[in-house]
């Protein structure tokens, strides 16, 4: 795909900030994939590699007090919102210092201090939870908004439609972001969707709905900025369908093109459109190198923190059943 232009109004700082965020997610996930075979990570991992731009492009326009929600494939959402990296790695290591005290693992990250809702491993279940936060945000009246990220498969669950109707009915400040990577585990859309007229369908609830078929973090960010601004001003919900691509296997650290359910050729198109590489190339070498070095240091520290942290004490099994 032809690389789109950098839109007017995007300055070097923006490029640096967006690059840092995407690159950081990419490298964290690669580091997770690297250590995974050592069994230091204690739960299944669903990596965001290749899908970083969706989380970053949207979350870049949010305030710290805005709320985000992601799924078991939510590492990018968690990191893009600025939630704690060492606590994330420690959580995957099953350590007491983890963001969920070691009880949630990779599929249930939570970044309470940064308004990152806890992730759910049951597809689609986090959508109405995010909607409840949007109801609270509206009642509060402080202009906070909610962004909820989910996959193409989640749109097949009835609860997604119930949520759209309720959000539009009450004009709740929530941005629905569908990360359409064309597969649910190994099953392609053709076996799951009667048509791909998703945006058209969502629009019938009376909310703006846009599809971004090409990876362009600037375009996504610009679109999100406009929609979120309207929401803060009291507008209702909006919907984005972002085409993207999962570079690794559904669950686990490796590539899986050998399995044959999707062509390696498709991958090349997405590698060509990789936003991490694209923004990196837009930066001066020295600047990029400095960012990269920061990130590597941060990651090394996070894994060291996780390694050094203790496992929960036995009696922790019985805490937190009731508040």
């Amino acid at each position: 795909m032809a690389t789109p232009m950098v839109p007017a109004g995007i300055g070097p700082d923006d490029i640096g900030r967006l690059y840092r965020s995407m690159r950081r997610i990419r490298r964290v996930e690669e580091a997770v994939a690297e250590v995974y075979p050592t069994d230091r990570i204690k739960s299944p991992v669903h990596l965001s590699i290749g899908q970083e731009a969706v989380s970053v492009g949207v979350i870049d326009v949010l305030r710290e007090d805005d709320v985000v929600a992601g799924s078991y494939r939510g590492h990018a959402v968690y990191l893009a919102k600025g939630a704690d990296l060492p606590a994330m790695i420690a959580e995957m290591y099953g350590k007491a210092t983890g963001c969920a005290a070691g009880k949630g693992g990779s599929m249930h990250l939570i970044g309470a201090e940064r308004n990152v809702l806890g992730a759910s491993a049951v597809v689609g279940t986090h959508i109405p939870i995010a909607l409840g936060h949007a109801l609270a945000a509206k009642r509060e009246g402080a202009g906070r908004v909610v962004a909820v990220f989910f996959g193409d498969g989640a749109t097949e669950e009835g609860v997604f439609h119930e949520s759209l109707n309720f959000a539009a009915l009450h004009r709740l400040p929530i941005l629905f972001v569908c990360e359409n990577n064309f597969f649910a585990i190994h099953t392609p859309l053709a076996k799951r969707w009667a048509t791909d007229r998703l945006c058209e369908r969502v629009a019938t609830y009376g909310m703006p709905a846009h599809r971004l078929a090409e990876p362009d973090v600037f375009a996504l960010r610009g679109l999100a900025a406009g929609l979120v601004a309207e929401m803060r001003a009291g507008g209702g919900p909006a919907f984005l369908e972002c085409h993207t691509w999962r570079w690794r296997e559904h669950v686990g650290p490796a590539e899986d093109y050998a399995a044959g359910y999707r062509p390696r050729a498709e991958m090349e198109r997405w590698e060509a459109g990789d936003q991490v590489a694209r923004l990196g190339a837009l930066l001066p070498d020295a600047g990029r190198a400095a960012i990269d070095a920061d990130i590597e240091r941060e990651i090394a520290e996070a894994f060291a923190f996780a390694e050094a942290s203790p496992f929960p004490d036995e009696e922790e099994l019985f805490t937190h059943v009731f508040a």
Partner: protein
Amino acid sequence: MFSHEGGHEGGQRLLRYVDALREAVAQEMERDGRVFVFGLDVDDHKAIQGSTAGLVERFGPERVFTTPLSEDAMTGVAIGAAMAGMRPVHVHIRMDFLMLCMNQLVNIAAKAHYMYGGRVRVPMVVRSMIGKSWGQGAQHSQGLHAMFMHVPGLKVVAPSNAHDAKGCMIAAIRDDNPVVFVEHRLLYGTEAYVPEAPFEVEFGRARVCREGSDVTLVGVSNMVVECLRAAELLAEAGISAEVVDPISLVPLDHATILASARRTRRLIVVDNAWTSCGASAEIVARVCEEAGPGAGIEVRRMGFAPTTCPTTPSLEARFYPNPSTIASAAYRLARPGGAEWTPDPERARLAYQTQFRGPF
């Protein structure tokens, strides 16, 4: 609005169960702006049999509103709002409909506090009414509280009288955990003395409603009323029945039940639900585990017939335990080998006319 409230400060008034529920919610909404009430038809003129009457007029449509027919998503909305600091009361006119939101209740509400390492709380109340009689039938009559008792992280309460209905509702709204609130619709019209001022009925403390020495009857929800009636009938047959109301099923005041059973050495648990893997199985199993055979306690369970609920009265009547069948079972237990005895059905039929009056 609340005719019973006028006058006598903090005093007790005879109040109907349905009015007690409404008064509790109104007082909590008054006290705490985070509390809101939603669910299908909470704001229509029937007002969930009157249990939400006047709330929308008093607190406005932002705090009292109906919803689309979307139980699954609406339950998620309640959970999310609760995590965000609000205190939702989600109303369902039939417990049967909770089957549509089991995923949210079991996989999120029950687990969030634990799964997220204590970082979030889910203070919500799920009001669910159990229907009975007049051909409610298979899908409008189920008491499914056992399913919620099975999953750690959910509290389950089933008040049997107006006093406890108010006290439990206030406690449930103030609780920082999801509470499944079981309301039997035939109790709505029953009256009890209820304090006017807000008060909490503490969860995990059973009440001995009637003391006795020959047999312990543990009733769940409306079955407390049926057990009390059975106890009156048994008294006339010379059998002294103790009636225990657990009030809350999770947490369960096991000690009170066990102590009573040790004393009477006969325990019958009567539930408004099926017995297989039911609350009655749980209570009986715990008593037997802890007391052991040495305590010499005979145990029995009574509940729905092991069938689907039929609509025709000729069969529906036999689907449920009633004062007569409870009394007969207790009699058999207390007089093994004795002659069969069944109380005068006429007198047994009065269960829901007899108004519950304490003691508190």
